[in-house]
Amino acid sequence: MKKEFRVIADLLPRNIRVLDVGCGDGSLMSHLIKEKNIEVRGLEIVEENVKKCIYKGLSVIEGNAETELHQFPTKSFDFVILSQTLQAFYNPEKVLKDLLRIGKSVIISIPNFGYWKVRTSLLIFGKMPVTKTLPNSWYNTPNLHMCTIKDFFDFCIEKKININKVVGVNEETTSEIKKSNLEIKNLFSKVGIFLLK
């Protein structure tokens, strides 16, 4: 399982209700049910993934988070998870607002455009970066609104969104990100995971 999913699972208490937005084939959902006895629901746009979830007995709704989050009542979940998808929405701010409405807490992970390899690609080679976390080329990437960990950090402060915890994930390690180490973590983390309230 992806290291990112392990970090997310560690952030969650047992026996709660979770909505996994963009749940993919349901790997994180299965993990949360097995390890933490969490009641989890998924929202997924890709038809093939929806079916994979159904075959596994997972509860999943086929739909587009950009337009269909309104169907979930306010504070109907303890946690809402959005893994590496925020940058792909036309209007990430609106989606985030909806997530914060639906969940008592929200966990958002973002692929970090401030990661050193990404920066080098553009700085040294003058090309749009293609990495493991950003595998697409400029012409076929679904990512419309790339940001860095620092960008998202500042965004939350500006929008008065309460940041509870930030974890940086790279190849080997995970580490907590605070205001004091933000510059360096923004350079060395591939993915940033934000716990928001």
Binding site: K51, I54, Y55, L58, S59, V60, I61, P73
Partner: protein, 385 residues
Amino acid sequence: MPSIAGLFFYMSEKIKKLNVSKPLVLDCKKTVKDFPLAYETYGNLNKNKDNAILIFHALTGDQFVSGTNPITKKNGWWVTAVGPGKAIDTNKYFVICANVIGGCMGSWGPKEIDKNTNEAYGLNFPVITIKDMVKSQETLLDHLGIDKLLCAAGGSMGGMQLLQFCATFPNKTFSAVPIACSTNHSAQNIALNELARQAIMADPVWDKGKYLKKNIQPKNGLAVARMVGHISYLSEKGMQEKFGRKLQEKADYEFSFDADFQVESYLRHQGFAFVERFDANSILYITRAMDYFDLSRQFKGGLVEAFKNQKTKFLIISFSSDWLYTTKENKDTVIALNAAGADVSFAEIKTDKGHDSFLVNEPEFLKTLKGFIDSMHIKFKNEKK
């Protein structure tokens, strides 16, 4: 072709019937008891009773889901999905289906004999509702010794019955698959049903529903009613691809009103094949029940109230080209279930086959249905342990 009365007598030998002795208060306030409910079962109920699946049929369906229908000698109406080795595998699951009341395959309906008059009910049959249908079928579970079903499934009116079943009996099924349906009938659907009813009532043979006394059927009206239905079950694209402007076994127009086009020939065939097996008054009664169906009207507080305290795990399935029960309508049910905090999944099958998709061989649909029911069986077995 045997006479209608002859056909109905012949039917009685081939049909399992439960006499529902418990008084049933209908929505129209009449109370009935000791009426017949015709049903069929496939496969065997296992010792743990964790493999029972109840299927609700649609407007013109009956209890003969799988195998060969002993009355019509045609395939059961859901033979694509139910049978040995099929998505709903009768080697593994015990499948139950009852003919709805108001129907004409042995259950209490307008062609049955009214003991008070010794004549067929005709329009003296009470106007029944989806809820009445469902309440009568629930008695069948008691009769078969089933406390809780593994799953209940149904498409179209079958799906509407299923939503009603879950709302009225919240803990009777572990899982549910309402397919291509809605929590109330739209204006368009009521209009199409009205068209079907008017076609029947405009046939002089119908005679205010008293045709059975003369041992005849308003065939022309009933056939037109069926044609309306058939148009609504296909999609525009599917119809165009299947028929286009192709002519029926001829090279040129005949400059007449015979069936020049294949699509005309298809509709006439469907219409006139139907009159051999269905009672015209039953169409009036069952379409009326569909039109009256409105779950949110039944429950003060609306749909959230209808679905509160649901433990059932739902999978709602819609078809992209279905214009009778659109994806949007199916999604509205999902939204209501979500709002009530129920456990609900939803999948839209991309297909050109229209509303009919659930009855034909649509592999993506059948795979989804099978995947869901098999995974629910594992969960239900664990819950029962």
